[in-house]
């Protein structure tokens, strides 16, 4: 066997792979990143870039909160084109049932020390005057932020390079062996540890992963500054994401620093076709117009789709692959890859180097899935 060329070879230069590269290189490891196309070409470039604390489970909360704190630490170092802004999120309740969800959400955050503010009909209208007037209330989470993910991924990768990492672009990986990754051109790169950070494509290199593609649509408008001030999400979004139904749309609008509005969101299983589905797009935009009627007057300049890497329990896969301990997974983040990328990288490096873990890794370990049928076939 040829001597190990790199301590760590990371496959995939999305934001998760880029974060892992920066963290591994900062820890003094000799790192290579192998990317089939270009930085952030998958879900990273397709996503909204909402750095958000989530409350679907304690494990989800802990990793999103930890990661958000890491983004906040990094914020001053991010170049201007990453467009990091602490706009905050307002979760919006349209009816009595959703008001109940909002209050539970408020309690969940308060109990865990997250600063939140419950808005009634009047204070919600003051905070976002262009929302329709019969909404029941909102929950402001002021610590949430937004950024432009492809530039953030590029920044993290540059940081990795500054700290000695090597990058290989346009190099599709065809196989992960125990101690090397094999490229399509027939060559191999020897590695002590391999990290599969290929998002929704992870199961092509690690067969048997129960990662499903979850298609999403987004639209972006011309520049209309001042229409929306926070990331606005209907709290019923949780209802629609929990139900693993085939198709769902939800109101989710993000102001960009340019004055553009990013309009989402949609979720579809079993949709492999990357083309825009105009039925879904129309439903998604109609949903957004229900909340902000003025949107109907604005020009959308671009629409696109992306694929999130979804797992059965809505938690990412972070850690060694059972039975093949030198192959690590860093995937399955679904719609939270941008938020969770920095925490994922810290966890992985700590696990690889046997350092103290900053937060418990158990909820995210791939081994949790052996009995839950996430790893569907024997490896």
């Amino acid at each position: 066997m040829s001597p190990r060329a790199y301590d760590v070879v990371i496959v995939g230069a999305g934001i998760v792979g880029a974060a892992c590269a920066a963290e591994c290189a900062s820890a003094g490891l000799k790192v290579a990143v192998v990317e089939a196309t270009f930085v952030g070409s998958g879900a990273t470039a397709a996503g909204m870039g909402h750095i958000v604390i989530m409350d679907e489970s304690d494990a989800q909360f802990v990793l999103t909160r930890y990661s958000q704190a890491l983004w906040d630490e990094l914020a001053d170092e991010l170049p201007p084109d990453c467009e990091f802004r602490k706009y905050g999120t307002i979760w919006i309740a349209a009816d009595e049932e959703e008001l109940g969800l909002l209050r539970r959400k408020e309690q969940f955050y308060r109990e865990r020390g997250i600063s939140v503010e419950l808005l009634d009909e009047r204070t919600l209208a003051e905070a976002e005057p262009n929302l329709r007037r019969d909404l029941r209330g909102g929950l402001l989470v002021p610590g949430d932020s937004v950024l432009y993910p492809p530039c953030a991924a590029r920044f993290l990768l540059e940081r990795a390079r500054d700290r000695g990492a090597t990058t290989f672009f346009g190099q599709p990986v065809v196989r992960l062996d125990e101690s090397k990754v094999k490229l399509r051109d027939g060559s191999s790169i020897a590695a002590g540890v391999i990290i599969n950070a290929t998002g929704t494509w992870a199961s092509e290199l690690t067969p048997g992963l129960a990662i499903k593609k979850r298609k999403g649509h987004l639209a972006i408008t011309e520049r209309y500054p001042g229409i929306v001030h926070h990331q606005l999400v209907e709290v019923g979004y949780l209802k629609s994401t929990h139900a693993h139904e085939a198709e769902a749309v939800a109101f989710n609008v993000q102001p960009r620093p340019t004055g553009q509005l990013l309009i989402g969101s949609s979720r579809q299983y079993s949709a492999e076709d990357p083309r825009v589905d105009h039925n879904i797009l129309a439903r998604m935009l109609a949903r957004a117009c229900e909340y902000i009627p003025q949107l109907a007057e604005l020009s959308v300049i671009r629409t696109w789709t992306g694929f999130r890497a979804a797992t059965p329990d809505n938690l990412p896969l972070i850690g060694p692959l059972p039975g093949r301990e030198r192959i690590y997974l860093a995937t399955g983040h679904e719609g939270l890859g941008i938020t969770m990328s920095l925490g994922t990288a810290k966890l992985l490096v700590a696990h690889v180097l046997n350092w103290p873990l900053p937060i418990p890794i158990e909820p995210y370990l791939p081994s949790r899935m052996e009995h839950a049928a996430c790893l569907r076939s024997s490896l």
Partner: protein, 81 residues
Amino acid sequence: MSEVVSLKINGMPIEVPFGTTVLVALLTNGVTGIRRSVTGEPRGPLCGIGVCFECRVTINAQPHCRSCQILCQDGMDVRTE
């Protein structure tokens, strides 16, 4: 039907023949710098057929209206940057 329509360009009252596009009303009234790019460069109409988006103006407080595709109407308030 009246032969002329009355509107305002950047607050200035003008009259144009019925059927005139907003872009032609701008150009025939000496307004050639229609907008500025996001980096501040002056921009003007290029295609005149609704494709290049360089003739966008604000009409009745609605930004990003393509002036080459819209006919002047009585009472219109047209703003360029």
